[in-house]
């Protein structure tokens, strides 16, 4: 019940296309859902996060869509660029303890 399932494991998108990564969770107590971006040799960096009281959050080219009833959330990267090539992790936590439960990661490659 503590798991966060992420898909796909890897994704190749043409430059300018839309990249979509999906996550699903079981624990309804989760109330904080961040997405992290990780480049090789670096630590994860927070990209965007959402709480369950909204269904969508947009920051620049990055959008989180959240479906509370389906217990799913997804990251959309619009106008994908080669610089977006990285591994993306979704995560979830109960706000009171900030203990993040991570998805397995998606390796995104943007082809020029």
């Amino acid at each position: 019940q503590q798991q966060v399932k992420q898909s796909p494991q890897s994704l190749i998108v043409q430059k300018g296309g839309i990249s979509i990564i999906n996550c699903a969770y079981e624990n309804t107590a989760f109330d904080y859902f961040p997405w992290y971006q990780q480049f090789p040799g670096k630590g994860p960096a927070l990209l965007i996060a959402i709480r369950p009281d909204v269904s969508e959050k947009k920051e620049g080219r990055f959008t989180i869509s959240f479906n509370k009833s389906a217990k799913q959330f997804s990251l959309h990267i619009m106008d994908s660029q080669p610089g977006d090539s990285a591994t993306y992790f979704c995560a979830a936590s109960i706000r009171s303890n900030y203990q993040l439960i991570w998805g397995a990661g998606t390796k995104l490659i943007i082809k020029p």
Partner: protein
């Protein structure tokens, strides 16, 4: 931009030896974490630390692990007697009043 600093970037040790991984969190942050990432696997929570004591710890964080904030700036993770399966990238993270978690670049620990 402020950053979490970790040293060393790489640590090689013999099985059974003690290692100390060091972190300097962002200066005004009060919540500190250690995570680890075994090669090719998901990021795993180890421990959270607040107000000079452990807030939460995972099953991974057994008696061989300890954390300490020896002074006002450093936050350390000690593994008393390393095992082969402790080989991983260890990330320190910190945050302030909001949930924006900042990660260091990690220490790659190799146990031989």
């Amino acid at each position: 931009e402020p950053e979490v600093t970790q040293t060393p970037s790489h640590q090689v040790t013999q099985m059974g030896q003690e290692v100390i991984l060091r972190c300097v969190p962002i200066s005004n942050h009060l919540y500190f974490y250690w995570y680890r990432q075994i090669l090719g696997q998901k990021v795993e929570f180890l421990v959270s630390f607040y107000n000079n004591e452990i807030s939460e710890k995972s099953e991974i964080f057994d008696d061989q692990f300890s954390v300490e904030r020896p002074d006002g700036s450093n936050f350390t993770l000690k593994i008393r007697s390393t095992k082969l399966e402790d080989s991983a990238m260890y990330f320190c993270a910190s945050h302030g009043a909001d949930e924006k978690l900042f990660f260091g670049s990690g220490t790659q620990l190799s146990v031989l």
